[in-house]
Amino acid sequence: MLDADDKALLRSLQDDPALTAPELAALTHLTAAQVTRRVERLSEAGILMGQTALINWAALGYTVQVSLRITLDKTIARAFDDFLIAARLVPEVLEIQTFLGRVDVRLSLVAKDLAHYQTVYRNQVLNLPHIADIEALMTVSTVKSDRRLPL
């Protein structure tokens, strides 16, 4: 199980994933060698899965970000499987989530502008199988996005 030092390390790394072992050692009471060992152990245990680059899609020219909330036709046994397989083939899709609740699936997608979004929506999204209902939420601004865990 994790002890207080592991949690302190993960907290510091959540604040700044680029921190080196000596820098992490300076923030805790551990030595750099101890930091390295603990980080290795957390990785081996599958707790620390890696680091991902944050991409600012707007700066890359994808100014439209839309969250599509989809209800599927559950009278069809393979509705979820068929839908997910097809949704993975839409290149503009960034996230696919399934839910327990009023919404079955959510797709997060980006587009260059509204005209591009309309093309993607009409030609790709509406062709996905077994959709019973679909609602769109357009992102106006992202207020918080760090996805930090409250350790």
Partner: protein, 151 residues
Amino acid sequence: MSRDKIDYDILRQLSRDARQSASQLGRKLNLSQPATWRRIKRLREDGVLAGRQLVLDAEKLGFDVTVFLGIKLATKGRVSLEDFERAVTAIPEVQTVEHVLGLYDYRLRVVARDLADFERVLRRRIMTLPGVGDVEANVLLSEERRPGPLG
């Protein structure tokens, strides 16, 4: 600012593993270390590469429940959006906050240890936010992140 395939390749590689050095990336993409470094530097300066994020296994850290909340403000105008945003971003269990257009005003991603813990966060922290009206909750069952337009 136009981006070519090599820029997209670099972004795709770094979103898989942000710890790769310019020389490691260069070898994978058949590019010299200085050329790779210059491209990474430009992507950073242009704001496309917006930092790094630690990837943690939430379940292994004891966070078994993730819930997406759609929130409608009850008193738009009277309570300023800034007040709501300031209060909601301060909640440690709230991982992301998006201001959206559509059925809801805000979309939140919330983590909790279990459903009882989620109920506590919902009652004590979310329902007491300034101006909060309708709240819809969907419990996350599965999630996958796609490379999107990076291919």
